[in-house]
């Protein structure tokens, strides 16, 4: 557990970066600090490992005031990942990860063995171990940064915009990877970002900070989106918050409907009535694309005659995926699949909206279906 008790930070030049702020980060969870540039996120984060000392107030880690620990020793027990990964350019990937075990006095061999285990854990291919950081992509460097922070198995992990320098696709992969790792490791993570989407995706709790180092709201993400505390939080979580909120809405009651299907390789004779969109599957029943109403088929059906499909909705996932699947499909029919990607049916945007509506007015909806 990390506890900020009325911490305040005023820099020598008079800038007040953090204003009398209290916050408790529960054990074994990811807590995100989010806010615009300069609102004191990094300052707050660095108070935990004493890279910055608060002007007043105290920071406690597992009940102990960090001021009672010698800084270097304290830091070895707290993982830290920074934006550009901050890898040591003169050390191989493996030796970068072995840094903290070496500082703890482990032999080079033990430290390297531990490093290799961790690199495997964060999904870095084994052949990259002996490379230098310049020889890695940005995303790979971030993985190494995470492995290095975890190398001494610290209970607490501090992450300062660790994924902000990589492109959106890689970032999403890294986020998923972090969630997976966290599922295995259960660290107490304090994660800084200025991206509200990232905050909402990763955080079990999200602290929104406002310019000048004020805590605007501290809540689980679904509550943040549903009930922003004030105008600042409302504008910060953005215009799409209604849509984003669907990420937290369960899909109970969403029943996929059926749709006409054909398989790749079928001929025109096999294709049913052509007044509607037809979903095209591969031999394993996985969706490949759509045939528009009335489109002629010449000989056997091949991939190049299809219109690409929208996103796929995995049955049981939150409603956001279902709505997106429906909105992104050319047919307006969101394709529902199971975990293996096998087609189960389709949903429409109308179905999703009806479910939302029925949750808002349970009695009316029940009356309507009876």
């Amino acid at each position: 557990m990390i506890e900020f008790r009325s911490v305040r930070k005023q820099y020598d030049d008079g800038t007040v970066a953090v204003q009398e702020l209290s916050l408790t980060v529960p054990v074994g969870t990811i807590t995100v600090l989010v806010g615009p540039s300069g609102c004191g996120k990094t300052t707050l984060l660095r108070m935990v490992n004493r890279m910055i000392e608060p002007s007043s107030g105290a920071v406690l880690v597992d009940g102990d005031d960090v001021r009672d620990s010698e800084p270097a020793g304290l830091r070895r027990g707290i993982g830290y990942v920074i934006q550009q990964a901050g890898l040591f350019p003169h050390r191989t990937v493996r030796d970068n990860v072995a840094t903290v075990p070496r500082l703890f006095g482990h032999s080079r061999r033990d430290a390297r063995r531990r490093a290799e285990g961790l690199l495997e854990r964060v999904g870095l291919p084994a052949e990259l171990r002996k490379r230098y950081p310049v020889q890695l992509s940005g995303g790979q460097q971030q993985r190494v940064g995470v492995a290095r922070a975890l190398a001494a198995d610290p209970p607490v992990l501090l992450m300062d915009e660790p994924f902000s320098a990589v492109d959106p696709v890689v970032r999403e992969g890294l986020q998923d990877e972090l969630l997976r790792l966290q599922g295995e490791l259960g660290k107490t993570v304090l994660f800084v970002t200025h991206d509200i989407d990232e905050a909402v995706k990763l955080g079990e709790n999200v602290a929104v900070l406002r310019q000048g180092g004020y805590l605007a709201q501290y809540a689980p993400p679904e509550q943040l989106l549903a009930e922003p505390a004030d105008d600042f939080v409302t504008s910060f979580v953005g215009r799409d918050r209604g849509y984003r909120r669907l990420s937290f809405v369960a899909s109970d009651g969403l029943v996929p409907g059926s749709v006409d299907t054909v398989r790749i390789g079928d001929t025109s004779a096999d294709v049913p009535s052509r007044a509607e969109w037809v979903l095209v599957l591969d031999p394993h029943d996985r969706p490949r694309g759509w045939l528009p109403p009335g489109a002629p088929i010449h000989g056997q059906l091949t991939e190049d005659q299809l219109i690409a499909g929208g996103s796929l909705y995995t049955s049981g996932a939150p409603l956001r995926g279902a709505l997106d699947a429906a909105l992104s499909a050319p047919s307006g029919l969101g394709v529902v699949v199971d975990e293996d990607g096998v087609h189960l049916g389709v949903v429409t945007a109308r179905q999703v909206l009806d479910i939302l509506e029925s949750r808002r007015h349970p009695a009316v909806a029940e009356g309507a279906t009876q």
């Binding site: 890279m51 270097a72 830290y80 920074i82 003169h90 500082l103």
Partner: protein, 223 residues
């Protein structure tokens, strides 16, 4: 000319003297080089860490380097109480020059270490001294080497000046050459240049061996 060279090298005593002077020259130029590096490193670090000392150190270094070498060679014995022809004078004078020459490159090299790398090192739990030795110093090697290369050439040529006040080294050949045996002058020049080139080559090779990551980086940029 050729004949005179052959005659010069034919004499075993000439060869012996030549080797001795070459050895002297190496000693007189490289000992101060090593000493200068060892002094400039802490000074550069101090200049980096302590704001008000920075200007003083850089200014002082600039002044030292502009004092004419001959004047230093002549003045040092009276300042230190050393013998006028003692090689210690040359060693001390050149150590001063090397240090003065290297303070700036050391400082620049240390400041060129990316902030996110030093921040990460601190966050990993490095204490300042170990961080300096394990992270900042290795990363400063390439820039440092450039400075050391300049200083080595400078030292090797300055040692010759020492011969004017009677210390050893290849400069002796010039003195003897002027006085009686002209052929010794080209021999001295060629050997001095060769020595400078050899030392330079060794420095470049040493730097390469010490910084394998630099080559990896260049390959990435080239591809």
């Amino acid at each position: 000319m050729m004949e005179e060279l052959l005659r010069y090298f034919a004499s075993p005593s000439n060869r012996e003297v030549l080797l001795e002077q070459l050895g002297q020259h190496v000693y007189l130029s490289l000992v101060p080089l090593v000493a200068g590096v060892l002094l400039a490193l802490p000074l550069g670090r101090i200049a980096q860490r302590i704001g008000w000392l920075r200007a003083a150190l850089l200014g002082g270094a600039g002044i030292v380097y502009t004092i004419p070498s001959l004047a230093v060679f002549v003045l040092l014995p009276s300042l230190l109480g050393t013998d006028f022809t003692s090689s210690l004078n040359v060693v001390i004078a050149l150590t001063l020059y090397t240090t003065a020459l290297l303070v700036r490159p050391v400082l620049d090299a240390l400041e060129a270490v990316p902030a996110h790398v030093t921040v990460a090192a601190t966050a990993m739990g490095y204490r300042p001294h170990r961080r300096f030795l394990a992270v900042e110093l290795p990363l400063a090697i390439p820039a440092l080497t450039s400075g050391v290369r300049v200083a080595s050439v400078s030292n090797i040529s300055l040692v010759s000046v020492g011969a004017l006040v009677g210390t050893g080294g290849l400069g002796r050949l010039f003195m003897v050459g002027f006085e009686r045996d002209l052929v010794q002058i080209p021999v001295g020049i060629v050997l001095t240049v060769l020595l400078a080139l050899l030392v330079d080559l060794l420095l470049v090779l040493g730097c390469r061996l010490l910084t394998p990551w630099e080559r990896a980086g260049r390959a990435v940029i080239a591809s």
